[in-house]
């Protein structure tokens, strides 16, 4: 008796993407975007939405041209062997670097919020270990984990929002667009660095049972992520107003003040718990992407033996490559957005354009 689920369903893909992208952005993003856009920061995710949708569209088109192949497999067919492999390697580097950044952000938050005396290496290593264990089980099990995790996280998010409602003041969101659109666009770019992580599809789409449905599910997942980020930004801004950008994790602070009567208060540990879970999950999804791209670039038959070594490398890089949190924050705000756009938008766009010009791959029906 063989299980049919060695591939993941479109729904599972969405459940993989939502925590696989949204989980780290939820807590920290409003703080970063508010530095630029101040009370308009809640528009940043909406601004980023079309750009991220474009990433999904690119991945969908590429997957339609090369069904059942990942980016690393079709890039050499389009660009030629050496440039193609190089592109694959770049994509691997992106996943690797991003994975380290996730790990780092996870550890920074944990140390700052809950375990001030715990060495960061321990937090990074533990999360890396948990993520590696998860990745060893393969994408299907990861997706199942996502199916269990995502609804709980969404409910928690809504509960916090509901409980924080009494502390919100909509006036703090005004005036709208005080300084014009530029700051909003700048913060949108920062958000795009997060939501653009849907580039995961370049690796995940071949594992989905029905590709076109998978692309639709990805749009839906992006919609959910953008909605969640907008909601979180609105709540953070309307609770903290002009001091939102002073906090590194505004939504965590929101959870700290959220209460419902005298009974239900102090739910921030729950947030920490879910955040640990979400970060490990995100770490695992990107670790999977990194390991698979690496294995495919070098033509390895199986990616599994790579998982634990790669996880160790990611953890080491995460713990070692940045000096302090200020530098990390600066990187997230100034260096990271344009840097990631190269991988998230430019890379697939170039491959798709070249493929279209050279006419490589399955001819795509123009009507669809």
């Amino acid at each position: 008796m063989r299980p049919a689920e060695t591939k993941i369903s479109p729904f599972q893909l969405a459940m993989l993407l939502i925590p696989g992208i949204g989980s780290t952005a939820i807590l920290g993003l409003p703080g970063t975007t508010a530095t630029f856009a101040r009370q308009d920061a809640w528009m940043a995710p909406l601004v980023a939405f079309p750009a991220s949708a474009l990433v999904i569209w690119l991945c969908g088109r590429l997957a339609a041209r090369f069904p059942d192949e990942t980016f690393v497999e079709y890039a050499p067919k389009v660009l030629g062997r050496i440039p193609g492999k190089l592109c694959g390697l770049l994509l691997f580097w992106y996943f690797f670097h991003l994975d380290a950044a996730i790990s780092r952000e996870f550890a920074d938050f944990l140390v700052a919020a809950a375990h001030p005396r715990t060495p960061m290496v321990l937090a990074v290593g533990l999360a890396g270990f948990a993520a590696a264990v998860a990745v060893r089980h393969g994408p299907e099990i990861l997706a199942r984990l996502g199916e269990l995790f995502t609804p709980g996280a969404v409910v928690l998010l809504l509960v916090i929002v509901g409980m924080a409602y009494s502390s919100t003041d909509a006036n703090l969101l005004k005036p709208v667009l005080e300084n014009g659109l530029r700051p909003v666009l700048a913060s949108g770019l920062i958000t795009q660095a997060f939501t653009g992580q849907v580039i995961l599809l370049a690796v995940l789409l071949p594992s989905v049972t029905r590709r076109d449905q998978g692309v639709k599910a990805s749009y839906a997942a992006l919609g959910v992520i953008v909605a969640a980020l907008t909601l979180v930004s609105i709540v953070s801004l309307s609770v903290f107003g002009p001091i939102t950008d002073k906090f590194l994790w505004p939504f965590f602070k929101v959870a700290r003040i959220a209460k419902f009567g005298q009974v239900l208060a102090r739910i921030d540990p729950l947030v920490i718990g879910f955040w640990v879970g979400g970060s490990c999950f995100k770490l695992a999804v990107h670790l999977y992407a990194a390991v698979v791209t690496f294995a495919q670039v070098f033509g390895l038959r199986d990616w599994r033996p790579l998982v634990f070594p790669m996880s160790a490398l990611v953890s080491a890089y995460a713990a070692g490559h940045l000096q302090n949190f200020v530098e990390h924050g600066h990187m997230l705000a100034y260096f990271w957005p344009p840097y990631t756009q190269f991988f998230q938008l430019v890379l697939p766009a170039v491959v798709l354009i070249v493929a279209a010009i050279r006419g490589v791959g399955v001819r795509v029906d123009a009507k669809r």
Binding site: A112, A113, A114, H115, P116, R117, T118, P119, L122, F129, V133, R136, H137, S167, N171, L172, K174, P175, E178, V239, F240, G241, P242, I243, K246, F247, K253, R256, I257, K259
Partner: protein, 438 residues
Amino acid sequence: MRSARSWLRVLPCCALLLLLGGCYDRIELNELAIADIMAIDRTEDGLLKVSLQFLIPSELTNPGGVGSGGGLRDPFYIMEATGATLPEAFSLLQAKVPRRLFTSHIRVIVLGEELARSGIGPVFDSLTRMRELRISADVVVTEGEGARLLRAAPRLGRLPVLALANTLGQRIVPQREIRQVAIALAAEGMDPFIPAVGLVPRIETQLEVGTRAQEYELTGVGIFRGDRLVGFAPLDLARGLAWLVDEAPFAAATIEWPPETGAPSPQLERTDLSPSEALIEREAPPGTGPGSPGSGLKEPNHITPLIVRARVHFHTEIQDGQVVVNVHAHAVDDIVTNQAGLDLTDPKVIPELEEALADSVKQRMQAMLRLAQEELNADVFGFGALIRRNYPQLWRTLRQDWHDHFRRLPVHITVDVDVRRTGLTGNPTIFRPEQLRK
């Protein structure tokens, strides 16, 4: 096999973790000194004196140990230390306390007058930055030394902090959390205010004679300009402030009947007094002596409503090139006392009464407005932020010297009062029908 292997990996790791466990962040409850109130004062040489009240759990659960009477020990004790910054004072304090300081459960932070007058901004940096402190802790100011408030042993409630927090929670004056004060400090066109609390001697029972026990009392509101305390608004005006920030008090506000049109009510005339004088005055306001029921007809007497529900709306408009703030308050009242013998069963009386009540509220608000605009020049109502929201362009021209503009800012107040119920009785029980005022 795969999951088997992963489990085999997990188990030794757990064992290792168990060994590691003792190292990081681990502390037992009986190694913690749990603080519940913090007072911050400024010493003469400009340093911060931090006083912390610590709980003694074993005294608390000991049935006899509650309260302060009977020669038993208090369930708390107080230690203080002086340092340049808050964390420094904390670490100096740690040298005097045998257990690790634990500040997460601080519910009220008391700021001494000296500190408040010299500026609270630096302290608030620490208050929002330090991990353990809750950003939702209440902040109060007090006249004189802040640490004094820690020494009170109120009779109701197991702990001073509970009494203090509950006193604040009565919605007589608006409560302020660290977060709200920090927002007011950071926002444009907004000055913070912080409720003021003082001590009042308790009426001693026979057992307590000579103990000179004290209770907490809300004395009004400390008004800040920027981060500096510029004055106190007494309790009556603090209620006006509550209206003006749309946190109307659940309080009774007595009016005279029949109303002396145009003349301000006696209490409100005294806004020019210093806060302490106003306080003293407040204890025996004129004209509140109990009128005899029979004679109630002849002299003006009092009607007291209870505010059930109140909502205040703020609008701005430009009149003759100048911004005008319109404040519209709407309240629903119950009449709880009718010493004036007004015929409350007469539908025609109610609008008159409503008008009188509205007038009293309006005067209260205007008095507060005068205090803030003319005397203290502090925009605690956030009218600047209101203008910024509604006229961002105009705000840029006002931003620079907002306080000057604020002093001259025209504010129009309109108040609507609905009397919904008249308590448990219709007409006063003490009057015969023919004695009623029509």
